[in-house]
């Protein structure tokens, strides 16, 4: 009888957790959150409540921060596992350049201070849009590795997903702030394509370059957005 009692006392909390509470909270479980379909009907009423500009900007900045952090972690993971120490320091000598080098993005502080809000936003958008495809490629490339850790793969996957939502946010922001309509496009290509199957070492180096370039660009995005935020002096006080 003792063992029976012990079993009962042992399983009561488990029972409570798994059975009782779900039963009690059953009505609550039925409330499922459905994303709002905010496509506006033609000439119809906008069904979705709009978000304020400040909140949207904050949310976009948060997105960018997160993306940067995760990309930083992915890069260091990759570095530890795949890149020998000597090559770590000679990134640039390998001849791999970042794909976004060609973009007309301000690269110094003086430039940035002179640029307008519009161009800041557009720069961000350009960066975001230019990285969507390469990240997908990076993901497939990493999957080919035999010893790629799951955390690395998960992180890169997460980043590529978040980047798409970031793009959407920036588009909305542009629309709000600049009253411009832009198309979210995936059609912009041409920045990066690789047809041939690369060698292993090349592949590794390319991926490494890709990751570190993306990390840098994520930081750029974050910085631009924060600068943009502090430019709204009537709503923010960044001093």
């Amino acid at each position: 009888m003792d063992s029976f009692e012990i079993k009962i006392t042992h399983y009561i909390p488990y029972f409570m957790q798994s059975v009782v509470w779900p039963l009690l909270l059953w009505p609550c479980l039925q409330t499922v959150s459905i994303p709002l379909d905010c496509r506006e009907d033609q000439g119809g009423v906008n069904r979705c409540p709009s978000i304020s500009q400040e909140k949207l900007l904050d949310r976009v900045i948060q997105h960018a921060e997160l993306i940067y952090r995760v990309s930083e972690e992915s890069c260091s993971l990759f570095e530890e596992m795949f890149i020998p120490f000597e090559l770590q320091l000679q990134r640039n000598q390998a001849g791999y350049t970042c794909i976004t080098k060609a973009l007309p993005i301000p690269s110094s502080r003086s430039e940035i201070q002179q640029i307008s809000d519009k161009w800041l936003l557009h720069s961000v958008l350009m960066l975001v849009q230019s990285w969507i495809e390469p990240l997908v490629y990076l993901q497939t490339s990493l999957n080919l590795y035999d010893v790629a850790p799951n955390t690395l793969l998960n992180k890169t996957k997460w980043v590529s997903e978040k980047l798409i939502s970031l793009e959407q946010g920036v588009v909305v922001l542009i629309k709000k702030m600049l009253d411009e309509g832009l198309l979210t496009t995936n059609s912009e290509q041409g920045l990066f394509h690789n047809d041939a199957q690369p060698e292993m070492l090349e592949s590794v180096m390319r991926d490494y370059t890709s990751l570190s370039c993306f990390k840098k660009d994520a930081h750029k995005m974050e910085t631009f957005l924060k600068l943009l935020k502090c430019r709204q002096t009537d709503k923010y006080n960044c001093a």
């Binding site: 640039n92 690269s107 930081h219 924060k226 430019r231």
Partner: protein, 650 residues
Amino acid sequence: MRGFLRWRTAELPVMHVSTPAVIPVNQLLKSPMGCGAMMKSVMEVLLLLMLFFTAHAKEKSYSPPEKPTQTRCRSPEKETFTCWWEPGSDGGLPTTYALYYRKENSETVYECPDYHTAGENSCFFNKNDTSIWVNYNISVVATNALGRAFSDPVDIDVVYIVEPNPPEKLTVAVMEDKGWPFLLVSWEPPHKADTRSGWITLIYELRVRLEEEEDDWEMHHAGQQKMFNIFSLRSGGEYLVEVRCKPDHGFWSEWSSTSYVKVPDYFHREKSMWILVAVFSALIFLILTWLLHMNSHSLKHCILPPVPGPKIKGFDNKLLKNGNSDEIFSALVVPNFPPASASKYEEMLVEYLEVYVPEEPELMLEESKDLLDGCLKSENSRSDSDSGRGSCDSHTLLMDKCGETKEEERQTNRESSLMETQGWKEEAINHDTSGKVKTWPSVYSPLPQYGSNPLDKQSSLETAKQHSLSTSSFLTQPGTKDALGPSYTDFCLSNKENHLHPQTLAHRALQTQSDVNISNIGCKRSPATEYVEVQRVNKEDMVLLQPVVSRCGHIEGCPNLPKGEDYSKVKGVDCDNRLLLQREGTGEDVCPCVDQETNGEGGNCYTSSTVSTTQKPTACMYTAMPLQEETALALNGYVDTATMGNLPSC
């Protein structure tokens, strides 16, 4: 030369220097031998040795410089940066250090523009030379006369190496919030960091400690705000506050300069409250103490109930001390006791029965043993301060006397009966404290029916009664000494079931019979009434009886009153079954039973009544008394309750 050498060795055996260098010196010193020359040569040798060894000691290995190590590069505001390196050993020669860098995707090598601004072994890149989001490949070269050494190259990006300056203008003020103080800490970001434009976003952290507690810092994270409140201060304490900052992706700055603050004493309010509490509790304590004191007795009774001591109701201890016994014991006398209208026989005085002892002792013994349980013989002829209960321990037990009588009368039977009586004497007697009358076990004649069932008392008693009647008739023959012999034994019946009613009747009947027997003997009073005295009660609750001494000496029949005893004669029993007592009479009243001829009518002689009236009154013969109305004086002043007992209708 050889001679020199030989001379040298001969002259100075200690020094075995035979180097060629010595030889020219010796040649030089070819001078006449003597002490001075010897000394000189020693000096020369020593000098040469010193030169030789010092040359070895001072020898340097000049070498190219060791590789310098680059320690760190830091940018305080993401606009400029500085790199520091650690030089290795310089190889003994003056070494110069140079820093070269390349920007990413460019082969152009630049040298450090500023070696001095940031101090020793550093390179400072100003705003113009700083490009952000650009990888710098930096290496340091150490050069000396013998060679150069390259440090390991370092790749940096300015945005990742930001370490701001500590925050500035830290101010701490003591504010008050509803009487409770708190510290308001505020600061400024480092002046170089451009937080206003959002170029750098800083988050802050501060730490507080009491002055006396070293290394016991309390950390607070302040986020992006530039002020902070610290609560829960110790009154009168001195606090140290420091703050530092960090960019969103970068390194923590150093702690700012310490700011001191003293919290004023504010515990007056607290103290007054405590004083109030203390006073209140003291008051309550006093009240409780007073209440306890007032009710100490009742509390004592509650907690420690007093143990009841022995106390007799109505008995006054003080009277005892005074020594007045009458008054004392008057309290013990229970009025209306014995109850006048007792319906039960056990409350009445129990008469003792004189039982005829049959010839066959075995059966009697059996019976006696069977029936023995508890016996009480009440002495009805004596009134004492006792409640009138029969007690077997009175020395007027008949048993003893009967035992002696047997001896005198009969040799054989008496012996046997004596044995019996003695056996009976030692039978266990249980005093029934409830006052019931118990009589001795029956000692009937060996009628067969007696021997069997002691429980069937009623029947046995009746038969016994008949037997006694018969015996009495038998015994009325005068002169029959060989009659069954009065062995007057009281008999007791074990009376477990308190069926006394019929029993006592029978008992009395028997007793009367036995009295008749007694009368045959003559005026031997001793057999008539033999009394036994309780010697002692042994541990088996058996009363050990002994014949009363100095009783049977008088043949005249003066009843041997126990001397010195406080007996009073029963005058008679009235209708209400009350004993009428007589004052201690003279011997004349008592004595002569011989001449008495009683018909049960008055007279001094008292005879036990018998059921049967067949007896003729002879001298000193007990006659049946009509018990209804007569008060018979006992011959010796004793009232035989057997006669009295036959007053059922009375």
